[in-house]
C-alpha cells in the first residue's frame, strides 16, 4: 500500500468501493451460483428447524412462556444466529480462499472480509424478510417494530464481522482457528441467546447472560417482533461498544497479517 496524503482519500475510497463491489459480485457467483443450492439452504434450514420445533410444541401441548407462537419464536431467533454462524465459520478460510486476488494491490484483506460478510448479511436479511412476511400473511404475526429487527441484524453483522476479522487474522499464523471455529459456534449456541429469553431466567442468571453481547441482539430482535407482549432486556450501547472494539482490533489484526502474509 502506498502512503498518500489526505488529498487522495476520496479517490482511495472510490477504489475501495469499486473493489468491494467487484468482490461481492464474484462472491455472489461462487456462493450462490447456478451450480449449488446456497440460496435454497438459506431458507430451508431455518424453515426446517422452526417447523420441527413448532410441531414438537404443538404435539406436546406445551406453550412457550409468555404464550409466544413457537414457529415465529424459533425461526426469528434462528436467523440472527444463522448470520452469526455463517460469518464466523467462514472467517478462518476467507484469506486462503482469496489469496490469489491479493496479487492486485488494490485488494485489501479488509475488502475481502467486507465483501463476504456484507453478502452473508444481505442474504440472511433476505431470508428473514421472507419469513417475517410469511408469518405475517399466514398467521397474522406481524412485527410490532420492524426497525428494531433491522437494528438487531445490523448489530449482529457488525459483531460477527469483527470476530471474523480476528479469526481471519489468526488463520494467517495458525490452523487452529480453522479447526475449532465450527465446533465453537455450535457449542456456544446455548449461550448466544438464540433459543431463550432473558425473562425466563432467574434474576442471578439474567445478570450473567446479559454480559453476552449477542443476548442483547436476540432480545432486541424479539422486541421488534413481539413488542410489549413479552418483557425484553437489551442495551444497544453495550453491543455497539463490543462491535466498535472488535472491529478496531480486527482491522488492526488484518493490517498486521497482510504484512506477514507470504503469497
Amino acid at each position: 500500500m502506498t502512503r498518500t496524503g489526505h488529498a487522495a482519500l476520496l479517490p482511495a475510497l472510490r477504489v475501495q468501493l469499486r473493489v468491494v463491489g467487484a468482490l461481492t459480485l464474484r462472491e455472489l457467483g461462487t456462493r450462490f451460483g447456478r451450480d449449488n443450492l446456497g440460496y435454497l439452504w438459506l431458507f430451508a434450514e431455518p424453515a426446517l428447524l422452526g417447523g420441527a420445533l413448532g410441531l414438537v410444541h404443538h404435539l406436546s401441548g406445551h406453550a412457550l412462556p409468555g404464550g409466544l407462537d413457537a414457529g415465529t419464536f424459533w425461526v426469528i431467533g434462528y436467523i440472527p444466529y444463522y448470520l452469526l454462524r455463517g460469518v464466523l465459520n467462514r472467517g478462518p478460510s476467507a484469506i486462503a480462499a482469496n489469496q490469489s486476488l491479493l496479487y492486485h494491490r488494490h485488494v485489501t484483506l479488509l475488502d475481502i472480509m467486507l465483501a463476504r460478510d456484507l453478502l452473508e448479511g444481505a442474504a440472511t436479511a433476505g431470508a428473514l424478510f421472507c419469513f417475517v412476511l410469511f408469518f405475517g400473511l399466514v398467521a397474522g404475526e406481524w412485527p410490532r417494530e420492524p426497525a428494531k429487527i433491522v437494528v438487531g441484524m445490523l448489530l449482529m453483522l457488525g459483531f460477527a464481522h469483527g470476530v471474523a476479522m480476528l479469526l481471519a487474522t489468526g488463520s494467517v499464523y495458525t490452523e487452529v482457528f480453522d479447526r475449532v471455529t465450527h465446533l465453537f459456534t455450535y457449542l456456544s449456541l446455548p449461550v448466544t441467546g438464540a433459543f431463550f429469553m432473558v425473562f425466563w431466567l432467574p434474576t442471578e442468571l439474567q445478570r450473567a447472560v446479559l454480559w453476552v453481547p449477542t443476548v442483547h441482539v436476540f432480545e432486541l430482535v424479539r422486541d421488534g417482533q413481539y413488542g410489549t407482549r413479552v418483557p425484553t432486556h437489551h442495551d444497544v450501547g453495550y453491543v455497539l461498544g463490543w462491535v466498535a472494539a472488535l472491529n478496531l482490533l480486527g482491522m488492526a489484526g488484518l493490517r498486521r497479517a497482510r504484512r506477514d502474509l507470504a503469497l
Binding site: A22, N98, S100, R105
Partner: protein, 215 residues
C-alpha cells in the same frame, strides 16, 4: 519511476529466519526494459512480488510513481473457481475498465476458445499463463513485471507476447526476471544481476550477461 530503498526481506522457515534480500537499492525509469538475472533461489520472484506490492518488505521502502502490474507468471491474480470470462469481468471492475471492451480483448488475446467460459482450475498451465497475460495487457499498466515464464518456448503465443511488449516499449517499462541470459537479451535493453540478496545494475547489456555467465 519505481525506487527501492534499502529493501530487505526475510521469511520465517522451520530452520529459522532466512534473509532473501539484504538491502536492495535501485530505480527503474519509465520506458526502461530491464532484465534481472539470477540463479534459482536468488530471490528473483520475491523481488518482483515486493515491487508489485503483493508482499511487503521486512524493512526499507518501495516507491511506485507509475502503475505497476502484478507479477505475470503461472500463479496468482486469478480466481480459480470462476471462468476466464468472469475473471476478466472482475479485473475490469477492480481496475475501473470498461467491461465489454476488456472481455473482448481478453477473449481475443488469450485464445482460450470455449475454455474462456469454464472455471480456471480446469485450465492447463499454458492456458492460465495466457489468460494472466491477456488480463494484464487489458488493464494497460505503465510497468509490466514478468516472471520469466512468458518468454518460455518459441510458441506462437510467446511471439505475440513479445510483440505486445515491444509495441509498448515507447510508453511502458518492463522488468523481467530470468535465469536465462538469452531471454533477457531478446527482450531487454539493460540488465541487473541479483546475487547474494543484492542487486547490481549494469547499463551495458553485454557486460551484465558476461558477468552473469562468468559467475
Amino acid at each position: 519511476m519505481i525506487a527501492l530503498r534499502d529493501v530487505r526481506k526475510s521469511y520465517h522457515t522451520r530452520l529459522g529466519s532466512r534473509e532473501v534480500l539484504r538491502g536492495v537499492d535501485c530505480a527503474f525509469r519509465p520506458g526502461e526494459q530491464v532484465g534481472i538475472l539470477g540463479r534459482n533461489g536468488a530471490g528473483k520472484s520475491t523481488l518482483l512480488r515486493l515491487i508489485a506490492g503483493v508482499e511487503r518488505p521486512s524493512s526499507g521502502r518501495v516507491e511506485r510513481g507509475m502503475s505497476v502490474s502484478w507479477p505475470l507468471g503461472f500463479a496468482g491474480a486469478m480466481h480459480y473457481s470462476i471462468s476466464g470470462a468472469d475473471n476478466a469481468r472482475f479485473i475490469a471492475r477492480i481496475y475501473g475498465k470498461p467491461l465489454r471492451a476488456t472481455l473482448e480483448f481478453v477473449e481475443d488475446f488469450a485464445e482460450l476458445g470455449e475454455y474462456f467460459g469454464m472455471p480456471v482450475r480446469t485450465y492447463s498451465s499454458g492456458m492460465m499463463m495466457r489468460l494472466g497475460f491477456a488480463l494484464s495487457l487489458a488493464v494497460d499498466f505503465d510497468c509490466y513485471l514478468v516472471d520469466e515464464v512468458v518468454a518460455v518456448g518459441d510458441t506462437r503465443f510467446g511471439e505475440r507476447c513479445r510483440q505486445a511488449l515491444a509495441e509498448r516499449r515507447e510508453r511502458s517499462a518492463l522488468l523481467l526476471v530470468s535465469h536465462q541470459a538469452a531471454t533477457v537479451r531478446a527482450l531487454c535493453t539493460s540488465a541487473a544481476i541479483l546475487d547474494g540478496g543484492r542487486l547490481t545494475r549494469y547499463d551495458d547489456l553485454d557486460q551484465a550477461i558476461a558477468v552473469y555467465e562468468a559467475g
